[in-house]
């Protein structure tokens, strides 16, 4: 037996391009598949979320004005970086009860999904734009634009794939993100943040928190500087209260009920459009 003692990793929140502990000082332990508490995670607070939204809002202008080509490249870069760290992700998933086969499948589909959305970066606009033949002397066109800050509450199934499948379409569409990791299995989300961090995403463009939806969903849904909210959980009561809160500032609400992220239906440009607004511009034609 090797006499070397392993270095254990400290899992923190990912806010504004930094790995920081929760301001609340709270943590929650995570038990491995044998029931042993091996890891502690930050239990993000309302204030952590508030900070994350603040930085996400700051990042919107810069991220949304990147060229589509550049956004695609960054998405692709995330996939590349993830590919290089595949083993770690499989191990982390496996450690918390997902079979090695399933874990491998999940990580590989996640990488492919990121590549999939990287490819959409400069294409969905053409598909969902229109030049409108108005009956007057005007040139008129409609294009998808970002919505702003999207708050995402990740699903518990497929903790890595679910998270990436929700972040990628919102992110590639020019939005910035505050995302709550799977409650049951948040580990890979924070490791995924390291991947993001190594992939040249602007600070604050994606923020990942760990903690409890029972505590945070209320703030995710009621924060007035959040433009859209995604929920995939099975808690219908919580879903209802999220939607009620969201109405306070007319948030775009997406409840992805029972979507199987493992199959091709878990990806499409329509997910990008869920986080897009159509903007129409008019201009006279004359001399």
């Amino acid at each position: 037996m090797n006499s070397r003692i392993d270095i254990q990793k400290t899992y923190k929140l990912y806010i504004n391009g930094k790995f920081s502990r929760t301001e609340s000082g709270r943590y929650f332990p995570l038990k491995d598949s044998r029931g042993k508490a091996t890891v502690n995670l930050c239990q993000a607070s309302r204030k952590d979320f508030r900070e994350a939204v603040k930085f996400a809002r700051k990042a919107v202008g810069g991220w949304s004005s990147r060229t589509a080509y550049n956004r695609g490249q960054i998405l692709y870069r995330i996939a590349e970086t993830l590919e290089g760290r595949k083993k770690q992700f499989i191990q982390e998933l496996n450690h918390f009860g997902i079979t090695k086969n399933n874990a491998t499948q999940e990580v590989e589909i996640t990488i492919d999904r990121l590549v999939y959305y990287a490819g959409w970066a400069d294409k969905y606009q053409a598909l969902f734009s229109s030049v409108n033949p108005v009956s007057s002397a005007h040139y008129n066109f409609s294009v998808p634009e970002y919505q702003g800050v999207i708050a995402i509450i990740s699903p518990n199934d497929n903790p890595l794939l679910g998270l990436a499948s929700l972040i990628a379409p919102a992110f590639v569409g020019g939005n910035t993100i505050v995302c709550l990791a799977s409650e049951k299995n948040p580990l890979t989300a924070i490791t995924f943040a390291e991947v993001l961090h190594a992939s040249d995403i602007p600070n604050g463009a994606v923020n990942i928190l760990t903690g409890f939806s029972s505590e945070l969903a209320e703030h995710f849904s009621s924060h007035k500087d959040v433009n859209g909210i995604v929920y995939c959980g099975e808690n219908l009561e919580l879903n209802k209260s999220i939607q009620e809160n969201a109405s306070e500032n007319v948030k775009r609400i997406h409840y992805y009920d029972k979507i199987n992220w493992l199959i091709n239906k878990g990806q499409s440009p329509y997910f990008i459009m869920d986080h897009s607004e159509i903007k129409t511009t008019w201009h006279p034609i004359g001399s």
Binding site: A137, H138, P284, I285, G286, S287
Partner: protein, 304 residues
């Protein structure tokens, strides 16, 4: 900047015009519905603003005499009619017209400066102005050098107008832009400003000798230029659309434009004219229709 480079005005920086916006404004003004007493008043007003015009190579003293008689006696069947504002002829026929209109307040206007193209040397053009005035013209209608304008020599266009005005002294100077050759509304605005700043008493759309005469959008741009000039200088410049205005409906639409852009103060022959030959008869027909209730035939109105 050297002192000698400072121009009186920088004509490269005149206000821009949005063509579609102009067309929309015209369409909206055209939706005004002028009925009953306001229609009758408008018809008579239009009549009083006409420069009854004949500008043909085949014009003869006889033709001009007939036109002058018509100017004095528009129609014997209708009471309370105004007379037209002026008779507009070539310089060589000014004397005839002047004699025929002696004792009336109808002016004689003469086209000058190598009308309609203006393509002769400036000295000759000025000579023509002197000649027309000498023959008795009360008003002269000059043309601008469109070629020079289009090649960007705005200063020269300005200078020519200014020198013509000097020659005119108190004689009313109408400056014809010949808008159909100026290509864009921006150019029409610019030419209007040049003319007004150089001393024009009136700005006029067209010679009537090209394929397109006055249009409402063009006139609107010129009216707005006049308004802006008035607000800056407190000087009222007149407007004369010419060419192609031949029916009452169109004439009333012009009056609506003048009323709503420039205001009632411009609704007078001293500040607004129609350059037209067949408009008078249509106005007379409409006046008769308003009075009698019956639609009229052109056969009942003299063609001179």
């Amino acid at each position: 900047m050297k002192a000698n480079q400072i121009n009186i005005a920088n004509f490269r920086q005149t206000p821009v015009i949005d063509q579609v916006g102009v067309n929309e404004r015209v369409a909206r003004l055209n939706s005004r519905s002028i009925k009953k007493t306001s229609k009758m008043a408008a018809l008579k007003l239009a009549l009083s603003m006409i420069d009854l015009t004949t500008l043909e190579g085949m014009d003869t003293p006889g033709k001009v005499q007939q036109l002058c008689i018509k100017a004095k006696h528009l129609n014997h069947g209708i009471s309370d009619l105004p007379h037209v504002a002026a008779v507009c002829v070539y310089p060589s026929l000014v004397k005839i017209a002047k004699k025929e209109l002696n004792g009336t307040s109808i002016n004689v206007a003469s086209v000058v400066t190598g009308f309609p193209s203006g393509q002769t040397n400036f000295k000759t053009r000025l000579e023509e102005v002197r000649y027309a005035i000498c023959e008795g013209a009360d008003e002269v209608d000059m043309v601008i050098s469109r070629g020079k304008f289009l090649s960007g020599d705005f200063q020269l266009v300005f200078d020519e107008i200014a020198q013509t005005k000097e020659e005119c002294e108190d004689i009313h100077l109408k400056v014809i832009l010949e808008t159909s050759e100026l290509s864009t509304l921006d150019n029409i605005r610019r030419a209007s400003e040049i003319a007004m700043k150089a001393g024009a008493d009136f700005i006029k759309t067209s010679t009537g000798k090209t394929k397109c005469g006055a249009t409402q959008p063009i006139s609107l741009v010129m009216l707005e230029a006049i308004k802006d000039f008035y607000q800056k200088t407190n000087k009222k410049i007149g407007m004369k659309p010419a060419g192609g205005i031949s029916d009452s409906k169109t004439a009333i639409r012009y009056l609506v434009m003048v009323k709503e852009i420039l205001g009632n103060e411009w609704l007078t022959p001293t500040l607004f004219r129609f350059g037209a030959s067949s408009l008078a008869n249509d106005l007379l027909m409409q006046i008769t229709k308003q009075q009698s209730g019956a639609y009229q035939s052109a056969d009942y109105f003299s063609k001179d």
